[in-house]
């Protein structure tokens, strides 16, 4: 049995190190990445629920994720977490601190946490995070939670990998305005008001309710939590379950998956094309003129 087959078997058998190494291989695009991804247990991958968790720094996302993990574990579910943090654009380094809130589960082999940095690639992260999600799912995790910071473009891409997404907010952070500006209220299926014991929580909830009503999106859920002591978590998980069931039945899940897969496919295309295009460009033109757009057009034209 070669190394990659061993890894595949290890993933299937929930071996922590094989799972971790497989993710590194696809994240770094090393030889064997394709072999691993094409042979994952497709039943597990297709059945797993992928949950996106996003929100500004400080609203308590990691704490909420930690609370959700505890809840799902109490139901006997094996949970995967991909925690995404930004890379420094200057140095390429990253500080991945989301794990701190989840260390309570460190010895639980059925809680698989993987921290990932955005590594400065917009679409590319979507591809590698998507692959990581699939590896976790193939190891029997469901749900797989993708936790991302903030409202940036790369985070929105990751959210699109999810079957359903919750946006976490807290009173007094100006989140509602941010969220509406960024169109996140549109993307999120569940709006979570965390830290409900803080002043302003009720106002925030009411504002969200009216925003949702005005947009005619009765489908959206609004949940109130205090993640730090597990309050509201069971209700939140209930809402997730309900929506998940609904989306599976009415075809929404398939539709989203299709869109997301299409997107990821294109991103892989661009990823694969990049070295080839760079090479071609450098051969054909020593210096790119001041009009890159038309240079690109002619490059592609020649190619086709």
């Amino acid at each position: 049995m070669d190394f990659h087959q061993q890894l595949l078997q290890g993933i299937h058998n929930r071996q922590p190190r094989d799972i971790a190494r497989a993710i590194s291989i696809v994240e770094n695009n090393l030889p064997g990445a394709g072999a691993i991804l094409s042979s994952l247990d497709s039943d597990r991958v297709n059945q797993a629920t992928i949950l996106g968790v996003t929100g500004s720094p400080g609203v308590g996302k990691s704490t909420l994720t930690g609370a959700l993990i505890s809840f799902y574990r109490s139901q006997g579910k094996r949970v995967g977490i991909i925690a995404v943090d930004p890379s420094s654009p200057l140095t390429g380094g990253a500080l991945l601190g989301d794990r701190i809130r989840m260390m309570g589960h460190a010895l639980d082999r059925d809680v698989v946490v993987r921290s990932m940095a955005t590594r400065g690639r917009l679409g590319g992260l979507c591809a590698s995070a998507g692959a990581a999600v699939r590896i976790l799912a193939a190891s029997g995790c469901s749900p797989v939670i993708i936790e991302t910071v903030g409202v940036g473009q790369s985070e929105m891409d990751i959210v699109r990998l999810a079957d359903l997404t919750m946006m976490v907010m807290a009173p007094g952070m100006g989140d509602e305005i941010q969220a509406m500006k960024a169109g996140l209220l549109e993307v999120a299926d569940i709006l979570v008001v965390n830290k409900i014991d803080y002043p302003g929580a009720e106002t925030l909830t009411m504002e969200l309710e009216s925003a949702v009503r005005e947009n005619g999106r009765q489908n959206k859920r609004i949940c109130q939590t205090r993640a730090i002591d597990n309050r509201g978590i069971e209700e939140l998980a209930g809402a997730v379950d309900e929506l998940d069931m609904q989306f599976r039945q009415n075809g929404e899940r398939d539709r989203r998956k299709q869109v997301s897969l299409e997107r990821e496919t294109i991103e892989w295309c661009i990823d694969f094309l990049r070295p080839f295009l760079t090479d071609k460009l450098r051969k054909e033109q020593k210096n790119v003129s001041s009009d890159p757009r038309s240079v690109a057009q002619s490059l592609i034209k020649n190619l086709l």
């Binding site: 720094p57 400080g58 308590g60 930690g66 809130r101 260390m103 309570g104 807290a170 007094g172 830290k195 803080y198 002043p199 730090i228 002591d229």
Partner: protein
Amino acid sequence: MKKNDPFSKWQENELAKSLARFPERKEKFTNHGGKEITRLALPGEIDEAYLENSGFPGNFPFTRGVQPTMYRGRLWTMRQYAGFSSAAESNRRYRYLLEQGTTGLSVAFDLPTQIGYDSDDPMSMGEVGKVGVAIDSLRDMEVLFDHIPMDSVSTSMTINSPAIVLLAMYVAVAEKQGVPAEKLRGTIQNDILKEYVARGTYIFPPAPSLRLITNIFQWCGTHTPVFNTISISGYHIREAGSTAVQEVAFTLANGITYVQTALDAGLELDVFARRLAFFFNASSDLLEEVAKFRAARRLWARIMKERFKATKPSSFMLRFHTQTAGNTLTAQQIDNNIVRVTIQALAAVLGGTQSLHTNSRDEALSLPTEESVRTALRTQQILAHESGVASTVDPLAGSYFIENLTDSIEKEALELIEKIDKAGGVVAAIEEGFIQRQIENAAYEYQKEIESGERLIVGVNSFQVDEEKSASTLKVDPEIENVQVGNLSQLKETRDNNKVRESLNELDRAARSETNLFPYVLNAVKEYATLGEICNILRGVFGEYR
């Protein structure tokens, strides 16, 4: 000066009262040559601005000190933080320190004790007796204070999350020595909020932790009227890398939270406020540190008056302990640390501290040896008896530099406190990570300056020499862990386990209600329930903070 001016009034009232109660240490303070040293130097003209911002020592806003005569009346308490290994070892060190002229004890507990684990808990592995003394039950506490007169020695205990348990043990040991609780003097740190941001020895979430603190305030208010029930600590915030302004702001913000919690629980402000003590860091920036202490004193007085409407002078007074900055000690050329500590201790004295711990020169390498501890104590004694700074009150007042810096530290700290208020208070700011982030960023910038050589640290990034390191350092015998574990199992065989169980069940029931837990803890402690057993009951009810 005319009869009815503010200075004369101060002399007739506060000063006269103080002199009657605590006569000055000498009839006359003189220099070499016999010239008398003035008690309190004043500006040429005492105007409104002076009275509002400086005032007289012992008078609002206490910028110039909390007592009218300061060190002329009584020197600061020389209190050396000590404790390691077993209770018997530490007891020996305390008795040595008392023989050497230290005037107060300060107990360092090991980390398992500080986090409520017995020595035989798996979590305690490797930590037993390391940074302080291991206390598992009342039996250890009895040994710790053996032959130490608890009615005359004041004791400070660095214990926070399980403070209620250790204080109950202290009260119980005193009782066995025949010393009634109302005679006990000292301070219990009991400051949980800074643990979440700087020091890390938390057990329970903030809400039940604050309840325990309020329970202590309340019980001590009637039983130990002269014991300081909290030491609101900026020391560790500064050690974690904060700036001087952040140290003041976060400490006083924590103080505000404790006062508000106690008020919400129905306690009477002017009763508990006088038992609040503070604890600051003295770092090497001499002038900034002096200004910091003065600013903190004035800001707290104003907060107590304006925000909480306190009425008694004792409620306005910020009384504080100081420790020299451990993070400034270097492992290189360790004798240089004696010089650093001297500057820092001088800052504390010029800033009007009520008690002082001076670090030992070898603490960047290990626990201090007896000889190093003695030098550290001698540093204080030289300041007290040779330097002359104790002969007059607040000698740097009126310096343009010091007064400007005092003003700006107060202003910036207040702005930071207002920011925390806006974020929903300290607990919210901790949960959001605001305070931690501020400290972390300040620490990071400071360290980067050292790494880049922009900031010179003598012996570390400049003026280095080749040296053989660590001649004689003190090591804790790793056997202590086994000894403690052995003692524990012996204790569990000899105590009345039915009574222990009963007392723990009662504590469990009480914790689930709103009642004051102190009597229940005291009862359990007296039955020789262990620290870990008591804390586990509370963990079961309160949950654990992560």
